[in-house]
Amino acid sequence: MRALLLLAALALATPAQAQFRLPNVDFNRMVDKVKQVGKATMEIKEPEEIEIGRDVAARLLGAAPLLANAPLQRYVNQVGRWLAAQTERPDLPWRFGVLDAPQVNAFAVPGGTIFVTRGLVERMASESELAGVLAHEVAHVLKKHHLKAIQKGAQTGLAGEALGTALRERAGPERDKLIAFGTEMYSRGLDKSDELEGDRLGVVIAARAGYDAYGLPAVLQTLQAMNAQDSALALMFKTHPSPAERLAALDKMQATLDAYAAQPQLVERFVAQTRR
C-alpha cells in the first residue's frame, strides 16, 4: 500500500522532473526500488523463512545451549516430528530441542525450529503434555506468527530497502539488525490472539497425532498453580496471557477435547525417556 502511494507520488513528480531535465534522476531505477520495497514487505519466501529461523535459533542457543542428554533430545524430536506430520507443513526441516535453562518456557522459531526449556519439561507428567506444548509451538510456525511479527517490526526498524538487503544477504549489518530484532521478539511476545490461536490449534494437532487432547490444558493448569512471583516464570508470564485466561479460552474447545480425551497419555514412556 505504501509502495503504491510512493509510486503515485513519483508518477506525479515525473512531469516536473522532465520539465527541469534533472540529470541525476533515473526514474526507472526509482521505480525499481519502489517495487523492491513492495516485494520485501509483501512476502518472505519459505527458504528465507527457514534461513531467518536458523539465524534466530543460533542466537537463542547462545542464550541457553541444548541440554546435554542426546536420548532425550532424540525423543523430543520424534514426538515433535510426528505432530508436525499431521499438519499442512509436514515437510519443513522440523527440529526440536530441549534448552538447558531453568526458566519455564517454549519457543517457536520461523521455519520449523522449536525449543522447550528443561524447566518446563521437568514440570510435565506425560508424553501427551509434552505433545500439547510442542503442538502449540508447531501452530505458531504454521501460522507464521513470529515471522509476521518480525517482518512488521523490521519494517519499522529498517528502511524498506534495508529489509530487502537483510533478507537477501546473510552477512551484514542489516541482517544482524533483523536477527537481533527477531531474537528480542521472544522477550516481547506475540499478540494475545496469536497465543490463544496456538492453544486451539495445538489441541487439534495433538488430537490428530493420537494423543490425549488434554495434555496442553493439563500443562496450563500446572503453570497456573505455580507461584506467579517465581523468577523462572517471569518471561513466560510477561509474553503470554495468564494460564487461567488460556484455560478459560479453551472452554470453547471442550467438545474436541472430550472427543479425544481417551487417547494415550503415555506416562510410562515419558518417565522412562526423561529419567535416562
Binding site: 536458523r54 543460533a58 542466537r59 537463542l60 542457543l61 547462545g62 542464550a63 541457553a64 541444548l66 546435554a68 533430545q73 524430536n77 520424534q78 514426538v79 515433535g80 516430528r81 510426528w82 506430520a85 526441516p93 527440529r95 526440536f96 535453562a101 531453568p102 526458566q103 518456557n105 525450529t113 526449556t117 519439561v121 521437568e122 514440570r123 507428567a125 508424553e127 536477527i179 531474537t183 528480542e184 522477550s187 490449534l201 487439534v204 493420537g210 494423543y211 490444558p217 493448569q221 498453580a225 505455580m226 507461584n227 506467579a228 517465581d230 517471569a234 518471561l235 510477561k238 484455560l247 471442550q254 477435547l257 472427543a259 479425544y260 480425551a261 497419555q265 503415555l266 526423561t274 529419567r275
Partner: protein, 158 residues
C-alpha cells in the same frame, strides 16, 4: 547431567500427590471419569478439593462430600508456594545441583531472561548439534506406532 535425574524421577510423584484446588464453577462430582457416570454430589462454585491424578479431561478429587471425578476445565489448583509442586521440586533441583538447599540458584546464572536474550551471541555449534538430533518422518511414524498413537482426522476450529 546426572544432577537432573533425581528431579525428573520425582516429577510424576509430585503430580499424583494430593494438591489443594478449587472449582471455578458449580460442578458434578462423578463416580467415574465420564459424563454419563453416576453423580456422587453437586459441588458448588469455589468448593475446595484435594486433587489426585488426571485421566483425560477428568481429575480425581477428594471433596468434603465424597470422592470422585470432576472436569479438568472446572478445576484450578491453588496458586503459590502453598502448593507442593513448585517450591518442592525446585528445592530438590537445588539439592541435586549444588548440594545445598539454597534458593539463589532458581534465578539461574544464564538462561532465557529478557536481558540474556538481548545479549545473546550466535552459537552455530549448538545449532549444528540440534540438526543431528532431528527425526525423519518415517522414524517418527514408527515411534508413534510403538506408543499406539493412531493418526486421526480432526478439523481445525471454525
Amino acid at each position: 547431567m546426572r544432577a537432573l535425574l533425581p528431579l525428573l524421577l520425582a516429577v510424576p510423584l509430585i503430580v499424583v500427590a494430593a494438591e489443594p484446588a478449587s472449582l471455578i464453577r458449580a460442578t458434578e462430582l462423578k463416580q467415574e471419569p465420564a459424563t454419563d457416570a453416576a453423580t456422587v454430589a453437586r459441588l458448588p462454585e469455589n468448593a475446595a478439593v484435594q486433587a489426585l491424578e488426571r485421566k483425560g479431561g477428568w481429575i480425581h478429587v477428594k471433596a468434603a462430600s465424597g470422592e470422585g471425578w470432576v472436569r479438568l476445565l472446572a478445576l484450578r489448583y491453588a496458586a503459590g508456594p502453598a502448593r507442593q509442586g513448585d517450591s518442592g521440586a525446585k528445592q530438590l533441583f537445588n539439592v541435586a545441583r549444588t548440594g545445598t538447599s539454597g534458593t539463589e540458584v532458581t534465578t539461574g546464572a544464564r538462561g532465557l531472561d529478557a536481558e540474556q536474550l538481548a545479549n545473546a551471541r550466535p552459537n552455530p555449534a549448538e545449532l549444528a548439534k540440534m540438526g543431528a538430533f532431528a527425526a525423519e518422518a518415517d522414524a517418527a511414524a514408527r515411534f508413534a506406532a510403538q506408543g499406539k498413537l493412531m493418526a486421526t482426522n480432526v478439523a481445525y476450529p471454525k
